[in-house]
């Protein structure tokens, strides 16, 4: 990643008769090139955030703004037990899923890092789940879990364990969704670890191996520290993304049974669009946005540091 910009060499002045005019144009050029993008980004970021904050300070009745609310939507949210329960489900979901994905992704990367034969096909097969739409991922696992179409129930029954009906019980539904997330996103951490492993210089490793270091010590003393900056970027990107998980859950359980899989995204969506209470929905999302922005800032500083490390 190159954040630094190349040094700019001014075009030679006085070479051609229209050089003066051209130098003026060259000076204005970067701003002219940036302008359309600046307007576009302003329209999809600054204006929506303003509109969102405004909505969070408004009382809606049947989808229509009826009065200013002050901070009422926020204090309501703060005192709403369902909101906190959704927060808890979200945190549990994100932490468990991302931890498992990181460990598995790293393990997988170590497994195939030195494989040359068929590497392209192996990589493509492993990353297939993360390329397709999350809705499709939801559909795939619905077909697998559901008693009518799936193989999970028949499999467990034939082993004499009884049909689990994964999506109908609170505990199994939650872990069923974690498994779906792991299937979908372990490939991302695998790819990141693989790219990191392949950029690590081999000579120090070989020297340490000659000195008699075993593979486990080699990994913890040499490979892991070098991999860490890249791995950290991947983990934080995944964390940010996981906080907003919505599509798969919408297709699989819509937050149920009960509220066992009701992530904050599902709860806010239902509040805003099923109950047309945009005020409370917006307040929840603004609160979550603040949390996500914090994660984003961590991600950005990690990315900068990783870039510097690579540049050295």
């Amino acid at each position: 990643m190159a954040v630094t910009t190349a040094p700019v060499r001014p075009s030679e002045p006085g070479r051609r008769p229209d050089a003066g005019r051209r130098a003026g144009l060259d000076r204005a050029l970067p701003w002219l090139l940036l302008l359309p993008a600046a307007i576009t980004l302003g329209l999809v970021s600054i204006y929506p955030i303003y509109a969102g904050v405004h909505a969070s300070l408004t009382t809606y009745l049947y989808g229509r703004p009826v009065a200013g609310a002050g901070l009422k939507n926020y204090t309501d949210t703060w005192h709403d037990p369902v909101f906190w329960q959704a927060m808890e489900v979200t945190l549990k979901f994100v932490l468990i899923a991302v931890t498992v994905e990181t460990v598995l992704g790293l393990g997988l990367a170590l497994l195939v890092a030195n494989v040359v034969r068929g590497a392209r096909w192996i990589r493509m097969s492993i990353l297939a789940p993360m390329t397709v739409a999350p809705v499709v991922v939801g559909v795939i696992w619905r077909l697998i879990y559901e008693s009518e179409t799936g193989f999970v129930n028949p499999l467990f029954t034939s082993l004499g364990l009884g049909a689990p009906n994964v999506l109908s019980h609170e505990g199994s539904a939650f872990f069923g969704l974690v498994l779906v997330d792991v299937w979908e996103w372990t490939p991302l951490l695998f790819l990141i670890c693989l790219a990191g492993l392949q950029s690590i210089p081999q000579e120090p490793l070989e020297a340490a191996a000659v000195d008699g270091a075993g593979p486990v010590r080699l990994f913890f003393n040499h490979t892991l520290p070098l991999l860490l900056p890249v791995l950290a970027v991947g983990v934080v990107l995944r964390l940010i993304d996981a906080v907003g998980t919505f599509d798969q859950i919408f297709v699989l359980t819509r937050g149920g049974p009960g509220t066992a899989t009701q992530l904050i995204s599902i709860y806010a969506y239902n509040t805003a669009f099923n109950f047309t209470d945009y005020g409370h929905g917006a307040a929840m999302l603004i609160a979550l946005l603040a949390f996500a922005l914090l994660l984003v800032l961590v991600a950005l500083s990690l990315m900068r540091r990783a870039a510097k490390r690579v540049a050295q």
């Binding site: 050029l29 997988l108 499709v136 917006a282």
Partner: protein, 273 residues
């Protein structure tokens, strides 16, 4: 001993690939089954049929969903490339005052990083205000904005990799900046540009939440939303749903295979190459 280790490694790899691909094959198998066989327990399709696929188009508006998806994805990706690439070039080649380069880049990245759920309520309110709910134009505008941030960020890193020497030589020879950009930089950046475009296509085609909240009829609904309409409150159309999943997945798998070399870069927002 060494050989045993190698066999164990390959056994593990085969197992992982199986776990990764088997769910896709399961969906494919359900999509080719007749209604009676779907409820007959796990088995291969006894009499493979395409009836689920034809049902999608004759009963469930998939023709309209596909047309919407293609138009919306095409227009928004094209627009975001046209808006984002010049900005990326400016950030890669000119030193702006006050360290504006990196600040502008990170501001662009922010838009892309924030999960869409956090923006749907304001997006909805804005589109409602301008009468753009349930229109293709409304979705095109939103996706153009989101994709532009991605294009700036990724194209900037592709462009910064192109050595400045060639360009400088052209400038000395009397080319203007713009004609140097057109004659020299764009051809050199074409593979990066193609990868960026394909990434934008994949994420836009796959988006569900924004399309779900901004649309309500097949006049503007996209393929992922169309798939979700097959899940009724009481009854789920398993066969067509599986077929819809295949239609949703297939073009993306092909695209992903094409950009495989750039995949890490696109998916990690350029943090890893």
């Amino acid at each position: 001993m060494k050989r045993a280790g190698r066999y164990a490694r390959w056994a593990a790899i085969v197992l992982v690939i199986f776990g990764s691909l088997f769910p896709f094959l399961w969906m494919l198998s359900v999509s080719l089954k007749r209604q009676v066989d779907i409820f007959g327990g796990p088995s291969l399709p006894k009499q493979p049929t395409l009836s689920n696929y034809t049902a999608l188009f004759t009963q469930y508006h998939f023709g309209a969903y596909l047309v919407n998806s293609i138009l919306i994805v095409g227009a928004s990706v094209l627009a975001s490339l046209l808006i984002g690439t010049p900005a990326a070039y400016a950030l890669a080649r000119f030193k702006l005052p006050g360290g504006l380069n990196s600040q502008a880049l990170f501001a662009a990245l922010l838009v892309r990083m924030v999960p869409p759920i956090l923006l749907v309520v304001p997006f909805y309110i804005i589109l409602a205000k301008f009468g753009l709910l349930n229109t293709r134009l409304g979705l095109i505008l939103l996706y153009t904005g989101i994709n532009t941030s991605f294009v700036i960020w990724i194209m900037q890193s592709f462009l910064a990799e192109i050595p400045t020497d060639i360009e400088d030589a052209a400038l000395v020879d009397g080319d203007s900046r713009l004609s140097a950009l057109r004659r020299i930089i764009l051809p050199l950046a074409s593979s990066g540009l193609a990868a960026t475009a394909i990434f934008a296509v994949i994420t836009t085609y796959n988006d569900f939440l924004i399309a779900l909240t901004m649309t309500s009829t097949p006049a503007a609904q996209t393929v992922p939303v169309g798939i979700s309409t097959l899940i009724g409150k009481i009854q789920v159309e398993w066969g067509p749903m599986a077929a819809g999943g295949i239609i949703g997945a297939l073009p993306i798998l092909i695209f992903a295979f094409i950009v495989q070399r750039h995949f890490v870069r696109g998916m990690t927002l350029g943090a890893v190459k």
